[in-house]
């Protein structure tokens, strides 16, 4: 009897410990990876060439960058502000944002039971499925340009998921404004995230029109338009079209294949085990398909936006994977032990990789 009681307790404690271990490792590694490459360049006022001293310098620098180097004005401003505030503050913010992304993934996946388990799994999967994890999550430039807009993307996706899972649900006005703002800011922050946001809207529109035979709710249309507005604001920067634009560099080099393949395999497994896809999962699948298509189409174009598209695709894949795994575990309670085994392997990989970097063997 005592043994029977201890199992659920252990199931609550273990994911919490694993999350804590990963958070500590991520924070330690954030401290070890100092400002480098673009971080050094952007520590100076780009207009005057002097060291950043105040917010005035940041705005002046970004105004110059908007005209001459391109990229997102919003992302650039936050980036230079973080550089101005110093490494200690940036490390703290980066760790919090990383954890927030994992928590949001579990919410987007519709997880109600064992949420801590899915948070720890998502934290590990984000590292495990990205071969260029060091540049994406621990280099300040990479983190600001690609990881922070994922928070907006996940808030944006959350509204669509709620609507798809329950058609009678009506969001409050405040929530609609928040989601429109997230779509706008995410798209303005990174063009790739903007494309994915518009892909999510397009997927929802197609599902309403062809499958559900309903009119798309006005607030979804509005959030799609906000994403489009943010994307246009990102694209119109005159600096994007200059020869030494920030858009001409390659900043990340990881393939989206492992993440997409894992979610496709999970989908095939669920369907073969007698499961079905919920409307929200079909929406995520459509959005993922769109993101993969964009990835291939924009392959010859390099730059911040396209790299952002790869990370947004990875985040979408992890959301879809978590949602499908949760679905499988709910319909087949016996599958939980495989989910635990899977998470053990993924977390082991992630922790060993982080440890390998922390002890400095590369």
């Amino acid at each position: 009897m005592e043994q029977g009681k201890s199992v659920p307790h252990l199931r609550r404690i273990m994911p919490a410990i694993l999350i804590l271990i990963q958070v500590v490792l991520i924070f330690v590694l954030q401290k070890r990876v100092t400002f480098m490459l673009e971080d050094t360049d952007f520590s100076y006022n780009l207009a005057t060439g002097e060291k950043l001293a105040s917010l005035k310098d940041v705005f002046q620098s970004q105004f110059w960058a908007f005209k001459n180097r391109g990229g997102s004005l919003l992302a650039g401003t936050v980036y230079q502000t973080l550089l101005l505030l110093g490494e200690g503050f940036s490390n703290f913010i980066n760790t919090i944002v990383y954890l927030l992304v994992a928590v949001l993934i579990s919410y987007v996946s519709g997880v109600r039971r064992q949420r801590l388990f899915f948070v720890s799994l998502s934290m590990a999967l984000i590292i495990c499925l990205n071969t260029d994890w060091l540049s994406t999550y621990f280099w300040q430039f990479g983190f600001t340009q690609y990881m922070i807009p994922s928070v907006f993307l996940l808030f944006y996706l959350r509204l669509f998921i709620r609507v798809m899972d329950d058609f009678t649900w009506e969001p409050t006005r405040r929530r609609v404004i928040l989601v429109c703002l997230c779509g706008f800011l995410g798209s303005w922050w990174n063009g790739g995230v903007g494309l994915v946001c518009m892909g999510i809207f397009l997927g929802a529109f197609l599902m309403h029109y062809f499958i559900l035979r309903r009119r798309t709710p006005m607030y979804l249309v509005l959030s799609g338009l906000c994403a489009l507005a943010g994307f246009l604001l990102y694209v119109i920067a005159p600096g994007n079209y200059k020869p030494d634009s920030i858009m001409s560099g390659i900043y990340l080099s990881f393939g989206i294949f492992p993440s997409v393949a894992l979610s496709l395999i999970m989908m095939a497994v669920l369907l073969r085990a007698g499961g079905f896809l919920t409307p929200s999962q079909i929406l995520m699948l459509l959005a993922l398909g769109g993101a993969v298509l964009f990835d291939f189409l924009l392959l010859p174009v390099s730059g911040v936006g396209v790299n952002g598209l790869s990370l947004a695709t990875l985040i979408l894949s992890v959301c879809l994977f978590s949602s499908l795994l949760n679905h499988m575990n709910s319909s087949h309670p016996g599958h939980w032990r495989y989910a635990y085994l899977l998470s053990f392997v993924v977390i082991l990989y992630s922790v060993m990789t982080l440890l390998g970097q922390s002890v400095g063997v590369y």
Partner: protein, 237 residues
């Protein structure tokens, strides 16, 4: 409620492909043969036709023999296995295979492990082992779980799986100790995992005794097409 028309997603894929089964199978076989001969032929500075043909023939023989060991033998099962193989099993060049007879080369101690101790161990983890954990091991766990769920909780995994996993662990240990054997160990571990995944997948299909939903069949085709494309792009890339 409007009546559903028989559209693209309401017809089983087999009905589309039934008339073209033989030419499609032949085309697929030729395409894979071409891909592997391309890979073996380009192991050298210039393309060598003899090595290309020899390597591709060895590939066909190995995959065919392994497929004979699976519990469910069929042409479609063979092609599914080959797709997994192309996508996940690392390439061994003929030059390396011929070196495998040299005992001193194969069992040379790894210097990084001897010189750097713990940090060397982490480096080995990142460099040699991690790639398999990244995708193949999670895949194997998922497919084994599906097999158990479909076949019933009381279904036991065959003994050969445990033997093969023990062999994979043995090769893993060898890989951490000797430098010459790294590529062979990676190949063996990958092929064992691919075999287990492929065999379990065939069992999952068998246990799915009801007529599968059309969407299920299309989803499966989508997955295998994506895996084959990955393998092809990597080989040609």
């Amino acid at each position: 409620m409007r009546e559903r028309r028989p559209g693209f997603l309401n017809i089983q894929p087999i009905e589309y492909f039934a008339r073209f089964t033989a030419p499609m199978a032949l085309l697929f076989f030729v395409a894979n043969y071409f891909l592997k001969s391309w890979q073996f032929g380009h192991d050298y500075d210039s393309f060598r036709l003899l090595e290309a043909v020899l390597g591709a023939t060895i590939f066909e023989a190995v995959t065919f023999l392994i497929c004979l060991l699976t519990s469910r033998r069929s042409v479609a099962g063979y092609f599914r296995f080959v797709i997994f193989y192309l996508a996940f099993v690392p390439h061994l060049s003929l030059g390396y295979i011929t070196k495998l007879w040299q005992f001193s080369y194969l069992f040379e101690f790894r210097e990084d492990l001897v010189n750097h101790k713990w940090s060397g161990l982490f480096a080995l983890w990142s460099a040699d082992w991690s790639g398999y954990l990244q995708l193949l091991v999670p895949m194997m766990i998922l497919v084994l779980g599906a097999r158990k769920m479909n076949g019933g909780e009381q279904t036991r995994f065959p003994l050969r799986y445990w033997v093969l996993l023990a062999v994979a662990c043995f090769f893993l240990a060898l890989m951490f100790l000797f430098s010459g054997i790294i590529n062979l160990s990676q190949y063996m571990i990958a092929i064992i995992l691919v075999y287990i995944i492929s065999d379990s997948w065939e069992q999952v299909r068998r246990y799915d005794s009801t007529e599968p939903e059309v969407l299920v069949s299309w989803a499966e085709i989508l997955m295998f097409a994506a895996l084959w494309l990955k393998g092809a792009v990597e080989i040609l890339g």
